[in-house]
Amino acid sequence: MTAQQASDDIIICRDVHKWYGDFHVLNGITATVRRGEVVVVFGPSGSGKSTFIRTINRLEEHQRGQIIVDGIEMTNDLRNIEAIRRETGMVFQQFNLFPHLTVLQNITLAPMWVRKRTRKEAEATAFQLLERVGIQEQALKYPGQLSGGQQQRVAIARALAMQPRIMLFDEPTSALDPEMIKEVLEVMKDLARSDITLVVVTHEMSFAREVADRMLFFDKGQIVEQGSPEHIFTNPQHDRTKLFLSQIL
């Protein structure tokens, strides 16, 4: 592998293992994600896909193997972990907005405390981001006053405010009512066209078909199959992939 190739790979996982008690939730994951790539991770529940993307910013600790994010190796060193987290935004299934802060404060909190931006700078960025996700008029409301789709768009804006190179999405539309899924997916499609790297755990196959560069199929803690959306949807090689796709499509 040449140096040029190595720096093109923003996430490198080599033989990553994790156990919950005796349950082998990640069983030797080896995968790389290139800079700017949009990767969709899918598979049955309990297959380890959420755990996998949560190891990328150390919300879950891996027990064996190697994870390198943007040239920084994930070790137990808190400085490495925090450096990686600064470069990595995450959007959760349950939004996890801070209910005691306004939308604006939710977005400006991390830039001000972690990146040491002034309030003025942080608020200017926040208003730009709110406009980008289409809800600038809600800036002074509290999360509890917004709909699920609006909350999730605030969560995306909050993650983007740190200007991350990687965005991790952990089933971002699974807790939403059907009519709100579209507005969140539109924002994500807009992001997919930017140069941010996206790793998305989702069951939204139309989203995957439209914007994914590559899809990873997880089952029983392993990557069973991967390839372009065209390959996965028209010519899946593995029986388990075929079975799962037949169940959800």
Binding site: E82, R85, R86, G89, Q94, N96, F98, V114, M162
Partner: protein, 404 residues
């Protein structure tokens, strides 16, 4: 969404307005049994009121209260120095008035409550001098409010600075210095009455709060030593009555200290109350910490906030808000528990009341004056505790804004 508005039913919910007579019939006189119970209980209430009011306005001897008002308020604090207590009180009320003007909101309710209380006392049959002082306090609150609201920007910093400086100013003023003619030394052993009660409660609340929060956080720590210490401390203190802790501080502590080290009695009691209260506070706060979903911490950490920032900015504000009712309940019980220091020889409000009751002047009163004095003391405790509860209710509604 708004363009396709469907015709909406304009029916109002069925009315619930009833006149008083209807209400009476429906709730108190529906059936002969309920009517009988209503009549009997009504008679009982009227008889009790007649007895109590009859006693209060004819047989009861209230003179001990106005004649001993100064003792009840300040204990054995020297008479000719009481102006120092009054200045402290004036400073406090001025500060509340200023804060109400600068920030408004709940502080405004507190300040108006204080002014109303002082005004109410000013029309009571106390000595003329007392009533003039009380009226002056009302004016001070008003003046503070006007000055504060006129120039918010200038007064904000000054008010905050004054709040932080005020404990030191008050202690210096109350204690004085040996050999300074205008401000002679007053031993803390002479501080008493309501002054001492408030001092114990306020210092206990303010000092035990950070300690309790730290203990609660420590109890959830992953470090075994920190966690073990906090669990041990909390369980030890919670297993012991406050009176035992007070006795420890007053009687046992001097045995462990070198003979030439003397710690002021008041400070020993303050430390004991603080350490005791912190353990209970820690358990209340821990309840709040446990109510915060793990997703909040994950979201904060994923944004790059460190452990300290996550705790301070995300977890604690939500946890403390969730336990306001429990915290206020604890502060109220702490306020009432200060009456226990009478047992270790400090004459706070209840201790002073005992002294007043035993005064030889009241030996000629047939049944003694303990009913009257204790009623008065109870009323004072009730006013304070009820005010705490009201403030906490305001606080809950205000902080609840926008959280579902």
């Amino acid at each position: 969404m708004s363009s396709t508005e469907l015709p909406v039913s304009r029916l109002k919910p069925p009315g619930s307005s009833v006149n008083a007579l209807d209400w009476l019939r429906r709730n108190l006189f529906n059936g002969w049994l309920n009517s009988l119970i209503t009549v009997l209980l009504g008679a009982l209430v009227i008889w009790l009121l007649y007895q109590v009011l009859g006693w209060a306005f004819t047989t009861a001897v209230w003179t001990p209260i106005p004649t001993n008002l100064q003792i009840l308020m300040t204990g054995r604090y020297p008479s000719e120095q009481v102006w120092r207590v009054q200045i402290c009180l004036a400073l406090l009320l001025l500060l509340f008035g200023l804060s109400a003007g600068v920030w408004g909101g709940i502080l405004r309710s507190i300040a108006s409550g204080l002014a109303a209380g002082a005004l109410l006392l000013a029309i009571m049959p106390f000595t003329l001098q007392t009533r003039l002082v009380l009226a002056g306090l009302v004016l001070l609150v008003g003046a503070g409010f006007i000055v504060g609201s006129r120039s918010r920007h200038h007064m904000r910093r000054l008010t905050i600075a004054l709040w932080f400086a005020s404990p030191a100013i008050m202690v210096v003023l109350l204690r004085g210095f040996v050999g300074v003619p205008g401000l002679p030394y007053v031993d803390t052993g002479l501080w008493g009455g309501l002054l001492l009660t408030i001092l114990l409660a306020v210092v206990g609340i303010i000092a035990s709060f950070p300690l309790g929060v730290l203990l609660a956080l420590g109890r959830r720590s992953k470090l075994p030593v920190v966690k073990g210490f906090c669990v041990g401390y909390i369980e030890l203190i919670r297993g012991v009555p406050l009176i035992t802790v007070l006795f420890m501080a007053m009687i046992m502590l001097p045995l462990f200290l070198p003979a030439n080290v003397r710690v002021d009695n008041l400070i020993r009691v303050l430390v004991a109350i603080t350490l005791f209260s912190a353990a209970y506070l820690a358990e209340n706060v821990r309840g709040g910490l446990q109510s915060i979903p793990n997703g909040q911490v994950e979201a904060a950490r994923a944004l790059g906030l460190n452990v300290f920032q996550t705790t301070l900015l995300i977890v604690l504000p939500q946890a403390l808000r969730a336990v306001i009712p429990a915290l206020v309940g604890q502060f109220i019980s702490l306020f009432k528990d200060t009456s226990l220091v009478a047992i270790v020889g400090l004459a706070e409000l209840l201790g002073i009341a005992d002294i007043v009751i035993e005064q030889p002047a009241w030996l000629t009163v047939p049944h003694g004056v303990h009913r009257e004095v204790l009623l008065f003391v109870g009323l004072v405790y009730w006013i304070f505790c009820f005010s705490f509860a009201q403030i906490s209710r305001h606080l809950e509604t205000r902080l609840g804004v926008g959280t579902r």
